[in-house]
Structure formats: C-alpha cells, structure tokens
C-alpha cells in the first residue's frame, strides 16, 4: 500500500468461517460465552444459530492490518461491531488511507464485509506502513 490518501488494500480474511474456528478462538481468547459455541443456547436466546465473537471478527480483520503495517507498525486500532458474523461467512477487509503525516505514519479507514456485501465491522487504524 502506498502512503497516499486514497490508496487501498483489499484482502479476503476468512473463507467459509467454521464453527471449529469459533471454538479455537474461544480457547485462545478465554471467552467461552455460549453464544459463540453452544447452538442450543444461541437459538434458545433468539438467534438463528451461534455466531462469532466480535473480537474474532476484529482479530480476523487484523490480518489485513498485519499485511499493511507489519507485526509492530500499528499505533492504534479501533473497531465497531455492526452485524453478527455467522458460520460459513466469507469476509473481506478493505483499508483506505485517509491521512498521511509528516512523520511517515498514515491513518486508514477499515471496512469488513461478508459475502453478501453487508458491512459487519468498521473501524480506523493508524501506524507506520511495513517496509517504509
């Protein structure tokens, strides 16, 4: 990604999200809320099925940020969780540079959408681009 306002990076960050990945995330994060692994609990409480942790969607989106900023370039990463993400969903993240600062750091808008084009996460990030 070039450090120019309007520069874009698009990346498919999840293809056919599996229940297994939700369980793996529950173990890795420590968040065992039953909405995210217990189908019976989720449907009993009004959902069609279990759904991903918002933080899993944010973590998956982070794959695109690592591509652009590297492992240690990020200075800030914020996100709002707009819609549930379901097993089977495919997610793509788009980053758009909104500002370039004199110190070389950039700001980006973040949008993650599912296979229907529905935006499930929006956010912003700032940092130094990798290899710059």
């Amino acid at each position: 990604m070039k450090p120019e306002v309007g520069a874009r990076h698009r990346q498919v960050v999840a293809e056919g999200l599996t229940r297994t990945q939700l369980v793996a995330y529950a173990g890795a994060s420590g968040d065992f809320h039953p909405f995210h692994h217990d189908e019976i609990y989720a449907t009993t409480h009004g959902f069609d099925q279990l759904f991903a942790h918002g933080m899993l969607t944010m973590g998956i989106t982070g794959q695109a940020l690592i591509t652009v900023f590297g492992d240690e370039g990020l200075q800030r990463y914020g996100a709002d969780f707009l819609k549930p993400v379901w097993p089977g969903d495919t997610l793509a993240t788009e980053l758009v540079v909104t500002a370039v600062h004199d110190d070389g750091s950039v700001e980006v808008d973040i949008s993650t959408t599912d296979q229907h084009g529905t935006q499930v996460l929006r956010g912003t990030a700032a940092g130094r681009l990798a290899n710059r």
Binding site: A28, H33, H53, L56, G59, E72, R76, A79, G123
Partner: protein, 140 residues
C-alpha cells in the same frame, strides 16, 4: 479498579494467531503479540466470568439480565509486547455516554479500560472495551 499479571507466552501467541486466521502460524519464541492479542489477558483475570468457575453457575450472565453487548474495541499501542514479557494489567471503568438508537430507544455505552504496563512500569497497550445496552427509564 483491579490489577493482575499477564504473562505473554509464545505458545499462547501461536494459538491466538491460528485462531484469527493465520492457521499455519509457527511457534516463535520471540513473537510479537498480534493486534488484538491483549484481549486474551482475560484468561488471567481472576474476576473474568466468561469461563467455567467453581464458584458460579454457568452460564454466568443471561442476555435478559440487561448486561448488554460488546459493541466495539479500541487498542492504543505504545509498543508491541513480545513473548517472554510479563505485563501488569489494570482494569478500570472508563467513560459513559448515551446515544439515540435507530429504533428510537436510547442506548447506553460504557467503557472498560485496561492498561498494560511492562516490567519497568512503562506503558505498552491501552485497551478500551465498549459495551452497549438499551437504557431503561427508572421511575420510582
């Protein structure tokens, strides 16, 4: 406010990276923590209730109790911690605000701020967990 230690373990970083989509992440004893890894500090929080506990029934919080939902998250990185470090996490209440919802009701937002410092007391990461729930009018 409460504090606890968060050991940054290489195996935990590998497990977390694989869970968020880097499915073949290798074991790296010097790995940097990925962007959202600090949320996994919850494992070490003695008060965390999204896990099985011997002193509480499961599940701990039913949605109808009005606990709300996780609406967003913000991380500010002073630097990126690496495997082998032990951070101290301090959890405190942050700001609260209300906003009109799209369906006409009022939404109440509340921040929980976790500050992570390194062994020298220097800031590493600040994490803001944003919770939202429908505001109920209380009449007595």
């Amino acid at each position: 406010m409460r504090s606890f230690e968060f050991p940054i373990e290489a195996g935990h970083i590998q497990e977390f990276k694989r869970a968020v989509g880097d499915h073949d992440a290798p074991f790296d004893p010097d790995a940097a923590a990925p962007p959202t890894f600090m949320v996994a500090a919850d494992r070490y929080d003695p008060d965390y209730d999204r896990r099985l506990r011997s002193d509480r029934p499961w599940p701990p919080v039913a949605p109808e109790s009005g606990s709300g939902f996780h609406a967003g998250m913000v991380f500010e990185y002073h630097r990126h911690p690496r495997a082998g470090e032990v951070l101290t996490a301090t959890v405190a209440d942050g700001e609260e605000w209300t906003k009109q919802g799209r369906r006409g009701g009022q939404l109440r937002f509340r921040e929980i701020v976790t500050t992570f410092v390194d062994a020298d007391g220097q800031p590493c990461v600040t994490a803001r967990w944003i919770n939202v729930r429908a505001a109920k009018e209380v009449r007595e």
